[in-house]
C-alpha cells in the first residue's frame, strides 16, 4: 500500500486524544468544508484546550489552513465556500445560523440537537482573532494599527487607549522596539516586527482564542525565534491555535498537536507523545520525514 494511497484514507484510522472536556474553549466536531462542490475537509474533530498552544501540522494541501479559517468564519468573505458541522466556542455553536443548521440537518438527520445561535460574525471575530501568513500592517501609524481594533468595540481615548496599546505591544514583545516611534507608519517596520505588530493588534481586543496561520513562514530565523518566544510567553493567558509546516516549530511551541492529511484529522494528542511515540503509522511516517 502506497503511503499516499488516497483510497486508504477513506477508511483511515484515527486517533484523537482530546484534553479534558472541561478545559476546552473551542471545539470543532465532525466538520466538513466545501469549495463550491469540492469537499476539502472530511469530518474533522479539533479540541482546543484553554490557554494552551495547539498546533496543526500536515503536508501541503492537507486542509490545516482551511480548518483554521473556519474557526473565525473568515472564509465567508468568498462566495461558494461553506462549512457544515459544529464549532463550539464556550458552549455556543458558531456555525448554528439558519443556513448552517439546515445543512447540518440535511447531513446528519433531523434528530440532531442544535441550539440556534444569534452570534454575529463581528462578535465571533472579536473573540477569535487571527494573524496571517504574510504580515499585514494597516497603512497607518503603529499606534493606530493597535487602536483600530479596539476602537471598533469601545469608545476610548487618551490615556486609557495609551495603556491598552502599550499592554498589547508588551505582550507581543514589541514595546521596547517601537515605544519611541508609535506615530510612525507600521509599514516602516521590518518583516518580523510587522508580524509581531499584527499579533499585538490581535491581542489588543482581548480575544479568547488567537489563530495563527503559518505566522513565521515569511520571516527570517531570528525574527522567527523572537515570534516563538512571544507565543511561549502568552501560554497561560491566551488560547492559541497555530498552523505550521515546520515540525520542529510545533514540537517547540505546542502542548497539543494535530496531524492532518488530505482533509482529515488523522491523529491528535499531547505533543510529547505525538513526536516520541505517535500512535499511527501514517503519523509516524510524516514526523520522521518519510513523506511531506
Amino acid at each position: 500500500m502506497s503511503l499516499l494511497d488516497s483510497e486508504a484514507v477513506e477508511t483511515y484510522e484515527r486517533s484523537i486524544t482530546a484534553p479534558p472536556a472541561d478545559n476546552l474553549v473551542l471545539e470543532a466536531r465532525n466538520l466538513d468544508f466545501f469549495y463550491g462542490k469540492k469537499q476539502t475537509l472530511f469530518g474533522v474533530d479539533l479540541p482546543v484546550e484553554k490557554n494552551k498552544i495547539t498546533a496543526l501540522i500536515g503536508p501541503s494541501g492537507c486542509g490545516k489552513s482551511t480548518l483554521l479559517r473556519t474557526l473565525n468564519r473568515i472564509y465567508e468573505l468568498y462566495p461558494g465556500q461553506q462549512a457544515t458541522g459544529r464549532i463550539i466556542l464556550d458552549g455556543q455553536d458558531v456555525l448554528a445560523d439558519k443556513a448552517g443548521i439546515a445543512r447540518l440537518r440535511a447531513r446528519d438527520g433531523d434528530a440532531v440537537e442544535v441550539t440556534p445561535n444569534k452570534m454575529d460574525l463581528a462578535t465571533l471575530r472579536a473573540r477569535v482573532g487571527m494573524v496571517f501568513q504574510k504580515p499585514t500592517p494597516f497603512p497607518m501609524s503603529i499606534y493606530d494599527n493597535i487602536a483600530f481594533g479596539v476602537r471598533l468595540y469601545k469608545r476610548i481615548r487618551g490615556a486609557e487607549m495609551d495603556e491598552i496599546v502599550e499592554r498589547a505591544l508588551r505582550r507581543a514583545a514589541l514595546w521596547d522596539e517601537v515605544k519611541d516611534k508609535l506615530k510612525e507608519s507600521g509599514l516602516g517596520l521590518s518583516g518580523g516586527q510587522q508580524q509581531r505588530l499584527c499579533v499585538a493588534r490581535g491581542l489588543a481586543i482581548d480575544p479568547e482564542v488567537l489563530l495563527l496561520d503559518e505566522p513565521a513562514s515569511a520571516l527570517d530565523p531570528i525574527s522567527t525565534a523572537k515570534l516563538e518566544d512571544t507565543l511561549n510567553e502568552l501560554v497561560g493567558n491566551v488560547t492559541i491555535v497555530i498552523v505550521t509546516h515546520n515540525l520542529h516549530q510545533a514540537a517547540r511551541l505546542a502542548q497539543h498537536t494535530g496531524f492532518m492529511f488530505l482533509g482529515r484529522m488523522i491523529e491528535f494528542g499531547p505533543t510529547e507523545e505525538f513526536f516520541s511515540a505517535p500512535k499511527l503509522k501514517r503519523t509516524r511516517d510524516y514526523v520522521t520525514g518519510r513523506f511531506g
Partner: protein, 311 residues
Amino acid sequence: MHNPAIGGRAPLGEDIFRWLCLSAATLLLAILAGVVVSLAIGGWPAFAKFGLGFLTSSTWNPVSDIYGAAGPIVGTLVTSFLSLAIALPLAIGVAVFLTEFAPARIARPIAVAIELLAGIPSIVYGMWGLFVFAPWFAENVQQPLANSVTPGSLMDTLTQGIPNGANIFTASIILAIMILPYMAAVFRELLLTVPAQVREAGYGIGCTSFEVTARISIPYVRTGVLGVIMLGLGRALGETMAVTFIIGNAHGFPKSLFDSGSTIASTIANEFAEASSDMHSAALIALGLVLFFITFGVLALARLLLARSMR
C-alpha cells in the same frame, strides 16, 4: 466589549455604503443610456423625414433644409482607416525599435517621451496641422503634383483638389500623428510582457531579429495588439479637433484623396452652435447617433474578437 453599533461594525453603515457604490456603478449605465436616448430623440425628426436615405444621400443643404449623411460618414470612415493604416506600422516599428534594438540608455527616455506625448490634447495637433502642415503640403506636395501629373490618369483622379492643404489626406496624416504615441506606448508595453526566455529560445535556434519579432513576439501578444488597433480606431473615429481644422469642411462626397471633405465630428462641431433650423439641428444630432453606433460597433467587435481569440 461587544457593542455592535460602535465604530466600523454598524451593519446599517455597511448597507448604505454598498448601496452608494452600486448607485455610482449604475449611474454609469444611466449616463450611457441617456446619451443614446437623447441622441435618438433629438435626431428622430431627421430620420423620420429622410428615412434610411439619410444615410446614403450626400446632399447637405441648410438653405433648402435637405440633409444627407453620406459625405460625413464616408469622410469619417476614410480618414479613420487611412490614419490607422499610416499609424499602425509606424507604431509597431517604434515599439519594436524600443524593445529590441535600442540600447536601454536611449530606449527608456524615448519611451517616457512618447508616453508623455500621448497626453497632448488634440487641439494642438489641429493647430499645427492648419498653420504649419497644410501650407507646407500645399506648396511641396499638391502644387508640384498638380503640375507634373498627367491629366486623366489614375494619379490625376486621386490627387484632384484645391491646393490649400485642407483635405482628407492631410487630415488623415494629422490624425495618424495623433494616435501614434498612444498606440506606440501600448505596443511597447505589450512587447515587454513577452518573457525573455521565449525570445531567447527563438534566438537560440538561430532566428534573426525579424523572425523573433514577427513569428514569436507579435503573435505572443496578438490579442493585445488587436485590442489596441480597435482602440486606436475608436479614437480616430471620434476625434474632432485634430480634424476640424484641416479637413476643409465640404459636405459632399470627397472625390479624391486631396479633396476637401468632412467627418461627422467636424460637421457637428462646425455647425451645431449656429444651426439654421430645427431640422438642421436634428440632422446634426442624427449624425451623432450614427457616429455613436459606428464607434460602439467597432468596440463591441473588438471585445468579441478578443474574447474569441482568448479561448
